[in-house]
Homo-oligomer: 109 residues x 2
């Protein structure tokens, strides 16, 4: 769990995930998408693999990476216990907004 959040705590790595969300890609393709040198990308991919967020499949000399959503599902499960906190607040906000809306509607007409 630590490793998943830590992996997500870097914007370069989130960019990689965003690409892999659409389609698997080789390390080279992924490297071109980031503003850093190849070895850096390689290590970011290593971190993602350690966190279970990514799968690698070797095809000749190419490494093809693909997204592994299971850890994200874990994050979703973790969030579950907190979701009520902002849903309640959003609810309160929502009712407040509609109240003010009806109030302004009342004052407008």
């Amino acid at each position: 769990m630590d490793s998943v959040f830590q992996a997500l705590g870097d914007s370069n790595r989130r960019t990689l995930l965003e690409i892999l969300r659409d389609h698997p890609a080789t390390a080279g393709e992924l490297a071109e998408a980031l503003p850093i040198a190849r070895p850096g990308v390689s290590r970011h991919l290593h971190v993602l693999r350690e966190a279970g967020l990514v799968d690698v499949r070797q095809e000749a000399q190419r490494r093809i990476y693909s997204l592994r959503p299971a850890p994200l599902a874990e994050v979703d499960v973790w969030l579950e216990d907190y979701r009520a906190l902002w849903l309640n607040r959003l609810d309160a906000l929502h009712t407040e907004v509609t109240r003010q809306k009806t109030q302004s509607r009342r004052s407008c007409s």
Copy 2:
């Protein structure tokens, strides 16, 4: 966004959030819940505050911390674009997710 995920990437800090989910607490109460010394807790709380995950209110010499769910809502929104990936194959992933969940309960909390 980086700061939120990085803040969540430490089990001590997640423990603090878990306590604050139930009720606000003073720094001292929170410190007793962690296996580390007071100044360490103080800095963890600082990290959580920087990430916007926590609010502080001073009351005499006590600092009362409370949970601020907004950044977690942001995480929820970020997850949204990935959710389809495991919802589509929910049955295939369900067993794995629950397995890892019990595993992480056993080890990390």
